[in-house]
Symmetry: C2
Subunit: 157 residues, 2 copies
Amino acid sequence: MNQIKKIVFLFLALLCTTASYSQVYNGKQKEINKILDNIKSFSQYYMNGEADKIAACYTKDGKIFPAGQEIIEGTNDLNKFWTLPSDVKVLKHKVTPSEITIVKKTAYDYGYYEGETLLPDGKKSTWKGKYVIVWKKVGNDWKIYLDCWNRIDEPKK
Amino acid sequence: MNQIKKIVFLFLALLCTTASYSQVYNGKQKEINKILDNIKSFSQYYMNGEADKIAACYTKDGKIFPAGQEIIEGTNDLNKFWTLPSDVKVLKHKVTPSEITIVKKTAYDYGYYEGETLLPDGKKSTWKGKYVIVWKKVGNDWKIYLDCWNRIDEPKK
């Protein structure tokens, strides 16, 4: 009986794990992989403080939709937006797409992001949110054309 | 001279008007018009307090990305989200797309929204924001699959 309980528990645990990481990719594997690579690079550039490289992840007319602000467009303004104050460091940035669907030379992508920031006072701030991105194929690469996101608040304790 | 000033002024005024209302539509006019009609209906349903009709503007697996909350998915939960408290009324809701681009049976759409709410205390609250929507063609109609938005704050006085 104990053995059966264990098996049921493991089965349920496996189900939960599968559910929370379920990801749907529609498109050629090669193209999906390129987008997944670009998503990882974006996070790495952000942790490195390389705003110019982040700006280059967008099309030349790429647009971001940050909370509270107007739509921000174009390489120069994106570079400025993603430039961190010199005394702030992004310790962690991770994007988990729920779905990436490619339709010809366009793709849409939605999912979750999470991160951790080291603030000037030495305190760490963690945050998470969700996003919708529209990608465009530019040459053999994929660039972000539209990037809209907002935070998920921590439940109040 | 005065006449020339007038002409220059009118020309500049016209330029500004054109710039602030510039809209890009890529796709068959018939399909674009259907999406534009649906955008207008959405606003009308919201002003009418018809949450069930708003929920029907989305695909059955349609998702919204409201600030501070998790991704909300599916007709029932969308109906609940768009249901206003009985003592709140949306007096105005207007969506102005900047671009609608159709790629096969998918379309992306971004732009601005603005509105006015009548609050229980009789005060009016105005608000505006920006959005990214991914539409899917369902039969002969277009439904919202992904809907991400956030506010643009009023400049501090």
